[in-house]
């Protein structure tokens, strides 16, 4: 270790409590900053992952609010508007369509298990094509009373493949034909069943919340969408990219606000560092005077003080990142409570690049915060300091 660094560390250790508290201020600020950036990144990635997991290029939905559609696609909100499944025949006639499926998403209370199930009615024989990445323990539903459970549903209810599954007031005994392996997306939360069965359960024999469409070549999507919108009145087409923008826009103000709070916290932390180091400089003015007498230049003194602030902020920054990672679950639980939509999966994941960037940012803050105390220390008159 270089002598100057050793000296700077020793100086900080002389007032352990003060140094620790100052460092903690920076740790809290950088921890929040790291959590916000990490969460924002995790949010975008999670959202993209969930949209990709739908396995569709776009959705045909009743005219209305795109945000509602986003909610529908992503976590099974209830929309009081339905499309008539006859529309599907018109869609299928358009050139370039590879696959269409009516989707009926609804909430079905299950008081026996004290929860509300999310029903996902779909043409189940198309599932292997829509969701090719699924690992299913069992089979996709083959009969009208067979259902497929998302990973979380099965885990929560402790249900195995082949088990029976009932809803109160519904005169059907379902058989669990299979359980989808964990996807870390919204797919884990649904109960999949044939569209006709879902329509029967919801007493809406021709209704669908959306029609999912996959095209042959995505480059032609614009032309196909234009043709559909011209030929079919009362519909709206939402691409997965639009859903992503829509959800991102809803979340962006919250993200901006949290980032602003984190930056204010960093500024407060930096002022704390400046105050703490300035106090230490005043307390050590005699010692600084002695160092000037025995050969230290103004630049030497400047460097020592700047190193002290950099050590405080680098250690503080690194501690902040560690604390943020340790508290990741708590932070996520909190954010999930206050934000209307958060993708499934871990939002706060350790990213070395981001961690290093946050610590580097803390170091820059340290340099800025240390400039004034270091300059002040370098201007100490050794004669006056030694006289005390």
């Amino acid at each position: 270790m270089s002598g100057m660094l050793k000296l700077a560390i020793q100086n900080l250790l002389r007032h352990r409590t003060r140094s620790f508290l100052t460092m903690l201020g920076i740790a809290a600020a950088v921890g929040v900053l790291f959590a916000v950036f990490s969460f924002n990144r995790g949010f975008e990635e999670g959202l993209a992952r969930e949209l990709q997991a739908t396995g569709l290029h776009f959705m045909v939905v009743p005219s209305g609010c795109a945000h509602e559609v986003a909610a529908l696609v992503l976590h099974g909100a209830v929309i009081p508007k339905y499309l008539d499944t006859e529309v599907i025949e018109t869609i299928r006639k358009v050139d370039g369509i590879r696959l269409t499926t009516p989707i009926l998403v609804a909430q079905l209370p299950n008081p026996d298990r004290q929860r509300i199930d999310l029903i996902y009615g779909v043409e189940t024989d198309l599932l292997p094509e829509i969701k090719p990445e699924w690992q299913i323990d069992g089979n996709i539903p083959g009969g009208p009373h067979e259902i497929l459970l998302g990973y979380n549903v099965a885990k929560h209810a402790e249900i195995k493949t082949g088990a029976e599954f009932r809803y109160p007031n519904v005169d059907i005994v379902f058989t669990v034909s299979g359980i989808v392996g964990q996807t870390n997306s919204q797919d884990d939360a649904f109960v999949y069943m044939p569209i006709a069965t879902a329509q029967q359960l919801l007493e809406n024999p021709t209704g669908a919340t959306a029609i999912g469409v996959k095209v042959v070549s995505p480059e032609r999507m614009g032309t196909i969408i234009g043709e559909l919108e011209t030929n079919i009145p009362g519909i709206q087409i939402v691409t997965m990219g639009q859903v992503m923008n829509s959800v991102s826009n809803v979340a962006s103000s919250a993200k901006s606000l949290s980032l602003a709070i984190a930056l204010v916290a960093v500024i407060i932390g930096a002022v704390g560092v400046m105050n703490s180091i300035l106090m230490a400089v005043f307390e050590r003015s005699q010692e600084i005077g002695m160092m000037r007498a025995i050969g230290a230049s103004r630049w030497n003194i400047f460097q020592i003080i700047l190193k002290e602030t950099m050590i405080l902020t680098i250690v503080g920054g690194a501690t902040g990142v560690v604390i943020a990672m340790l508290a990741a679950k708590l932070i996520e639980a909190f954010v999930r409570r206050i934000m209307p939509y958060v993708p499934q999966g871990d939002m706060l994941r350790f990213d070395l690049g981001l961690a290093l960037a946050c610590v580097a940012f803390a170091m820059v803050v340290g340099i800025i915060a240390g400039l004034y105390p270091a300059w002040k220390a370098s201007r100490i008159n050794p004669i006056e300091a030694i006289k005390g």
Binding site: G3, Q10, E287, R292, I294, G295, R298, P382
Partner: protein
């Protein structure tokens, strides 16, 4: 070696101008052991600071090894202090968290000199701290702290040692030990200038300067 010609030093205290030194003419020869005595406020410390190129005179000329110092820039004064001058203070001014060895080596941080292998330990042994090298100042007695400060003053191989009341905070036994080390340094060829209130110690230096009201008394 050090030459002062009509050196004056004044500073402002509120509305009045205080003259700390008035028309000082002084020659310090290489190898001398000079004691500076005088009452409090007489200008002893100001004189020592000017001799040590830590402060510059308000008037007159200061020469060190034939080079005029009073017109030098701060960086040149720093270089001069690093190379040729060792300071010892009454309050020791050791860095609390550093060991005896690290405290002795402190000036090397600034001069960027690499001492010969074992030089720091040799200095510690020379001042009688061979067994206390890894102790921190809080574990040392006053005399041991001052001996550490002496070793620190010697680490850059200076030509002159300037000691500002080096025994002022010590009992008589420790004062004797410190004085003995200074005498030893003098005998080895170093120039030593020591401020003291101890008349008995001053008598044992080979030259004594008495200063009063900023003037050297003959």
């Amino acid at each position: 070696m050090i030459s002062l010609r009509q050196v004056e030093k004044s500073y402002r205290r509120g509305a009045e101008i205080v003259w700390a030194l008035r028309g000082i003419d002084l020659e310090i020869e290489a190898g001398e052991f000079t004691a500076v005595i005088g009452p409090s406020g007489a200008g002893k410390t100001t004189l020592l600071h000017i001799l040590g190129c830590l402060d510059l005179p308000s008037g007159g000329e200061l020469h060190f090894d034939g080079v005029q110092v009073d017109k030098m820039r701060d960086a040149e004064l720093v270089a001069l202090r690093r190379q040729k001058i060792g300071f010892i203070f009454q309050q020791f001014y050791l860095i609390p968290g550093l060991s005896v060895l690290d405290n002795i080596a402190l000036p090397l941080l600034f001069s960027k000199k690499k001492p010969p292998e074992g030089r720091i330990e040799e200095l510690a042994r020379m001042v009688g701290l061979g067994e206390r090298m890894h102790h921190v100042p809080a574990q040392l007695s006053g005399g041991e702290m001052q001996r550490t400060a002496i070793a620190r003053a010697l680490v850059n191989n200076p030509e002159v040692i300037l000691a500002d009341e080096p025994t002022g905070n010590l009992d008589s036994a420790n004062s004797e030990k410190i004085f003995a080390i200074l005498q030893e340094l003098h005998h080895s060829g170093l120039t030593v200038i020591m401020i003291t209130h101890n008349q008995e110690l001053a008598n044992r230096a080979n030259r004594m300067i008495r200063i009063k009201d900023g003037i050297i008394e003959v």
